[in-house]
């Protein structure tokens, strides 16, 4: 590497402060942040949403929007202060001395250029190599990021590649000029766990080979545990704690880091009461959903999103459906809730089969199955008060407004919100609070089955822990049958009694959570469990000091 002095850090951030626009909830996006990244070291910035971790990365790259100026401190890249460097100088440095990879590999690549051309552009801008040398170099870097068939990738457009391959192209582009510093902003958040594990492994391997410094930004402590040498915990723009990964994870000192680490659900299944004798509330028989096929003028490609799915949920029991994106887990949930029509099979609610009921007859059964969605920001109508959203269902079934409102007030207490907040609009609540409101809306129907479709995936880990606890309490207290759709094995381990693992529309393994997690039989389940970040680390439960 270019650096002659190996002791000098690649990146040295001193007292960095970045202002937020006036009228924000705090004056600084990042305040007096200090950290260094040495050659051959991976440093993780970890924090929840709004902690300022991405803003710091953008500041280093000189990519901050005008509304967020650097108002204090220095950023030394290999000894050169770039905090207030000119745009020309930054352009010289980007890709050459420092590179960045982003969360969403689809939007970070230009959809109308082949992957090879996009990297070629970097080389044309920064080097004087002739075309053949450039192409050789690009093919070489594709090989370095373990791409199958590099010449084919060179001529492929981004949409022709999978998410993991796109992220590899991004990494190849970042690495092609052998920078001293690689910044990775949540590079695996949009990927499935098995792909995530491969990409993390790749970043570690390349970092070892090249001796780069890596600044890795994530919200996931499992990832931190797998990849970081040192870690810095951020909270609302302030760095609360920094140190070697092992120290921080095993002996966090700051109450906030203690709380965060304690909130990470354990991979070990929790001890749970059994519900063998309980009444069967929901059962699917050979539930199948086929998308596409037919078509008016031509035969279209058809996908079996759910294929012969047989599951059973008993009263008071929680069944988890886990799988990666595209496995069909959400399709099953939506077929059961009859938000989409199943192609074949039965959905038995007690004695009634609701799978193929026409809308007119279905309405009577609607209240028996309720669903809580993933995105708390889109699940509530922004133009109606939360009270109106909660009373809508009961009033559809003939409750008077006074009666429904009374029930809504009780439910707000059940989900630990102030009943007087019923008059507020959704935008006045945080994500976690909105998810509680959605739970209250579902409970207002007095359902027999509650479906949580990735209901905690969009939440920060500390809020997620609270919502999970709430859901579990409600299930216990109301003796609800719960269907828990999640991609997060840690969540499934904590709140489910039984778990069904889905792959490509099929249930490949189904059984009590302890059996599936501790003694997985199917190879896919084994691969999933092996890929879970931080699987070998038991995150301690610290009392808030």
């Amino acid at each position: 590497m270019a650096s002659t002095n190996t002791n000098r850090p690649v990146l040295d951030v001193r007292n960095l402060s970045i202002a937020l626009p006036k009228g924000g909830d705090r004056p600084f996006a990042a305040e007096k942040v200090n950290f260094t990244v040495s050659p051959g070291e991976i440093v993780c910035l970890v924090g929840e949403s709004g902690s300022g971790k991405s803003v710091i990365a953008q500041a280093v790259m000189g990519l901050l929007p005008k509304a967020l100026p650097v108002v204090g401190g220095e950023i030394f890249l290999e000894g050169e202060n770039i905090a207030n460097a000119s745009e020309d100088r930054l352009r010289e440095l980007r890709c050459v001395r420092m590179s960045m990879i982003f969360q969403e590999p689809m939007t970070a690549l230009n959809p109308v250029m082949t992957c090879g051309d996009q990297i070629d552009e970097v080389l044309r801008t920064h080097t004087r190599l002739d075309p053949q040398k450039r192409k050789d170099k690009i093919i070489g870097v594709f090989e370095q990021v373990s791409m199958p068939d590099p010449p084919r990738i060179y001529d492929s457009y981004p949409h022709q590649l999978s998410g993991g391959q796109r992220q590899r192209v991004m990494i190849a582009m970042a690495l092609v000029l052998e920078p001293a510093l690689l910044i990775a902003d949540e590079p695996t958040t949009a990927l499935d766990v098995t792909t995530q594990a491969q990409i993390l492994e790749l970043i570690k391997e390349i970092q070892r080979q090249e001796g780069m410094g890596v600044l890795f930004i994530t919200h996931d402590f499992g990832v931190v545990c797998d990849i970081a040498h040192r870690v810095a915990v951020l909270r609302l723009g302030e760095m609360v704690e920094a140190g070697p990964t092992h120290d921080i994870l095993s002996r966090p000192r700051h109450p906030y880091s203690r709380m965060l680490i304690s909130s990470v659900p354990s991979m070990l299944p929790a001890e749970r009461a059994r519900h063998d004798g309980a009444r069967m509330v929901l059962r699917t028989e050979n539930l199948t959903k086929v998308y596409g096929g037919g078509g008016l003028f031509q035969k279209t490609h058809s996908v079996r999103a759910a294929d012969d799915v047989n599951i059973v949920v008993r009263q008071g029991e929680s069944l988890g459906i886990v799988g990666e994106s595209g496995s069909g887990k959400s399709t099953v949930a939506r077929c059961i809730a009859r938000l989409i029509d199943p192609t074949a099979g039965r959905v038995r609610l007690g004695e009634d089969d609701v799978a193929l009921l026409p809308q007119r007859l279905l309405r009577r059964h609607r209240r028996r199955i309720q669903i809580v969605f993933q995105d708390p920001y889109r699940s509530l109508n922004p133009r109606r008060t939360v009270g109106e959203s909660i009373v809508e269902g009961p009033m559809n079934f003939g409750a008077s407004r006074a009666e429904a409102t009374k029930r809504a007030r009780n439910l707000m207490e059940t989900v630990r919100l102030d009943p007087d907040a019923l008059d507020r609009y959704p935008h006045q609540f945080s994500g976690g609070q909105r998810q509680r409101i959605c739970i209250a809306r579902a409970l207002a129907m007095e359902p027999e089955v509650l479906i949580a479709d990735e209901a905690v995936s969009a939440l920060d880990v500390s809020v997620q822990a609270q919502v999970l606890k709430l859901l579990d309490e409600i299930r216990e207290r109301m003796n609800l049958a719960m269907l828990f759709i999640t991609h997060d094995l840690r969540v499934a381990a904590q709140v489910c009694d039984e778990v069904a693992v889905m792959e490509k529309g099929k249930v490949v393994e189904y059984g009590p959570v302890a059996d599936v997690f501790l003694r997985p039989k199917h190879t896919y389940t084994q691969a999933l469990l092996a890929a879970a970040p931080g699987r070998d680390w038991e995150f301690g439960k610290f009392e808030a000091a």
Binding site: R367, Q370, Q374, R378, H427, S430, D460, Q466
Partner: protein, 311 residues
Amino acid sequence: MSIVLENEVDAAAARAAAVARPSIWIRLLRHPSVLIGGCIVLVMMLIGICAPLLGTIPPAQIDPTTRNKRPGVEITVRQDDGSTVQRTVLMGTDSLGRDIYSRVLYGARVSLIVGFSVAALSIAIGVLIGLLSGYIRWLDGIVMRIMDGLMAIPGILLAIGLVSLFRAGLATVIFAIVVPEIPRVVRLVRSVVLTIREEPYVEAAISVGTPLHKILWRHVMPNTVAPVIVQGTFICASAVLAEAALSFLGIGIPTDTPTWGNIMAEGRQFFRVYPHNIFFPAIFLTITVLAVNMLGDGLRDTLDPKMSKRV
């Protein structure tokens, strides 16, 4: 905040979420093109309403002795009782001796009535069709093919055809301009419905058993309001133009009612000698259409920022 909270992080997020923006009315009034466009439209409306009070004479009054006077000329008008009064014709007179100033001011009435009622009617019909077509799948194919058919015929041609089917008059003209405008509203509303119907809050409403008409009214329709208001202003502007065009072609409002299009049509013959016959109604028409369009642009920027980036 009085909400019972379990930790501070959530509280901070809630505080950040609750930071209020200035209300929509204030933001609208701060926008220069809303302010200017709105004021001009308002002035035009006042002119139309108060036309009799603004020193006009009956717009259809013919005076053979004062034909083709140029703007600013002082004329002597003989009244019924035999006395005479001196009057300055601000915008001149036409070939029948009618006062252009009076005709233009009264003409504002027709233009604005046509503009606003066309906008209101095509929106009302278009929103209804668009909502149903966007939400009910089997209806979509049929409705949209009809709309495609309507859009394939040039608007003014369709309007001419429709006018010729009925007796010429204000209602006929409005109807003839509304029909070609409907497909544009339908397509706009349908595109909004297609995105909103996938929103989780609509699915939540379905799963709590909300009947179809309530879903459309409560959850889907409010999302179409902003883009439809914006589209409405553009429809209003083009309806004013279409009315003038129809009148100019002699198939719109009968000539005894003054409209800007009629005045221009009648002034066409002597345009090279007496350009004022066309100049003044044309200026009013241009300013009105420009103002309505400015208002529309401003509304679009404030109500529908996504659309303003697209267009």
